[in-house]
Every structure is written in C-alpha cells, then in structure tokens.
C-alpha cells in the first residue's frame, strides 16, 4: 500500500523512524519523538495534554478524567514493554501514540491528538512514526479497536494499512502485520 493520494497529502509508507520533524498544515513546526518516561517534565506535559483533552473525543473510556486517573492509566502504558511516540510543539505535548504488549506477542495500538492539532496531518505523521518505530524494534502483529462511528479514525487506520477483522460489535477490530511494512530508516529529525 502506498500513500500518495491521501487527503492531507502526508504519505503513509515508507514509515519514518523517530525523531521526525515536520511542519503541519497550519505551519506549526513540530517533532515526533520517542517518549522518555523517566523525564518527569515530559510526563507532566503529557498529563497536561490529557487533562485538557476534549471529553467528547474519548474512546472506550480512555483517556480517563482527572490527573490521578490519567497518571495511573499512563503508568500502565509507559511501564509496559511497549513503544510510545509523542508529538511536541516546543515543550507542549500535542499528540501521543502507543503500542502496548497484550501478553500474546501482539501489540494494541492507540493514538490521541489534542483537539487544537487535529485535521492538520499530525495524526498521520504520528501513527506512521509509531509504526516505523515498532517495525524497526521487531513488532509484528498490531491490532486495535475503534468505535464504529468514528469515521476519521477508521480512515486513518485504513490509510496506514489496517484491515477490519471483526465488524460484528459496537467496536470494529482492525489489524496489520508490521513485519511486511516499508520503513524509511534514515531519520529526518
């Protein structure tokens, strides 16, 4: 799958590897980096992003509401043997994508982009960078669930190669095999 004809003009593959510097559709200079969970300032910035997250954009109960619940939820993501990429506008965290191991040699994916940065290509850059990161780290099978009415999210997942595996419930299940992904190993950051 190639990504030349996408609506936001951001190609999908080859997936880049973080750090990735880019300018979004609103001319903001942003960078997608591997997340360092030992950096307390970075964790605080990520918590702030989620505290300010539009509650209408929550998906299946996450992110939770309130600093304590957000920190507790994030700690399960950051302390797992998974992979996290955060998009930064200077020192402000504006997007976060994560691969969490499911205990069966597969990874669950989720992506969150702050409402001020949606619709400007940030989500595409972020998910592609996470998939590039995962691919070079040897991640194979990736899956996710998405509420079936969330057309924007479903379109993004399809664009980066996810296919629907179960459409029989409130949530769609989608998956993709990263071992076949085309990765651009030269960093652009």
């Amino acid at each position: 799958m190639t990504g030349e004809s996408q609506s936001d003009g951001v190609p999908a593959e080859p997936f880049p590897v973080p750090p990735v510097s880019f300018t979004d559709a609103e001319d903001r200079d942003l960078v997608a980096r591997r997340f360092d969970s030992a950096d307390e300032d970075a964790v605080a910035a990520l918590v702030s992003m989620y505290e300010d997250f539009d509650p209408g954009m929550r998906a299946q109960g996450i992110p939770p509401v309130g600093e304590d619940r957000i920190r507790s939820w994030l700690s399960t993501l950051l302390e797992s043997d998974g992979y996290n990429v955060v998009v930064w506008d200077d020192d402000r965290a504006v997007g976060h994508a994560t691969l969490v191991p499911d205990g069966e040699d597969q990874f669950e994916l989720a992506i969150f982009v702050h409402q001020d940065y949606q619709g400007s290509g940030v989500g595409t850059r972020l998910i592609c960078t996470l998939l590039g990161y995962g691919a070079v780290e040897g991640v194979g099978h990736v899956w996710l669930t998405v509420e079936r009415w969330n057309n924007a999210a479903v379109a993004l997942y399809e664009k980066v190669g996810f296919e629907t595996t179960n459409a029989e419930s409130f949530e769609l299940e989608m998956e993709r095999d990263l071992s076949t992904a085309d990765v651009q190993t030269e960093s652009t950051g």
Partner: protein
C-alpha cells in the same frame, strides 16, 4: 421541599418511587472478571437496599471459568454476605435467555458486568452485554 436536595437524594428518589425501596434485581454473570466484580458490588448493594436478588449464571463461551465454578463462587459470596438469593443456571443463548427471564418474571432491573479492559485500558463490551442493552425493555445497569 425546604432544602436543596443533593444529587444523591435525587438519585435515591428516582430509584425508589413512592418510597418503595427494594427492587427486584436480576444479575446476569458469566465467568469473566467483570462479572465477578459485578457480583460483589450487586450483593453489597442488595444487602444495603434490601433488594430481592436473583443471580443468573450464563454460559459464556468466551470466559475461562465454567458455569459450575461460577455457581459455586456465587453461592459462597451470597453466604458470606448472609443474603438469601436464588442462583439459577440459564442454558441456551445467554443474552436472549436473560432478557426473556427479566421480562417474563417482572424484574425491575438487569445488572451486568461493565465490560473487560483491553491491555491499554479500553472498555470492551462483550456480545452478551450488547444484546441485552439493545433488546431489554427492563432497565440495564453495567457495573463499573
């Protein structure tokens, strides 16, 4: 009414029309963790509120515990709480059997587990909960 009623009071008034406090509650559980959590919490509430509780044990092919194990566990939990409640094993299609029982025997409320969590914490409802939510004419509570 002279004082401002708290949200809690309002909720109680809603749940207890005409000061009738006890409800006839049908709890449907399979063998998943959220079912067992719902059992604990529903028994706790039934003891406090004086609810008349029936526990329906469902055959959930997706769960790791079989119906017999769940029935034994439910019986233990009820004994520990000193609560007298029917425990029934519902065979056949779990969602439709539960809805049928709730409606045919005049229950006020159906209670179910609130769904499993994915590794990243997303709430996932199983097919039984989805069926009951969409089909039940009796109020449904999901325990979170």
């Amino acid at each position: 009414m002279t004082a401002v009623a708290s949200v809690n009071d309002a909720a109680k008034a809603f749940a207890r029309p005409g000061n009738v406090s006890r409800m006839k509650v049908l709890l449907g559980i399979g063998g998943s963790d959220d079912s067992l959590d719902a059992l604990e919490r529903t028994v706790e509430r039934a003891v406090e509120a004086g609810d008349v509780l029936t526990v329906a044990v469902l055959d959930n092919p997706e769960s790791e515990r079989d119906a017999e194990t769940v029935i034994e566990h439910a019986t233990d939990v009820l004994e520990d709480a000193d609560l007298d409640a029917d425990v029934r094993h519902l065979t056949g299609d779990p969602g439709s059997e539960l809805v049928h029982l709730a409606e045919s025997e005049g229950f006020d409320q159906v209670v179910l587990g609130g769904g499993e969590r994915s590794p990243m914490g997303k709430i996932r409802l199983g097919p039984i909960a989805e069926f009951v939510l969409l089909n039940s004419h009796v109020t449904v509570t999901l325990v979170r």
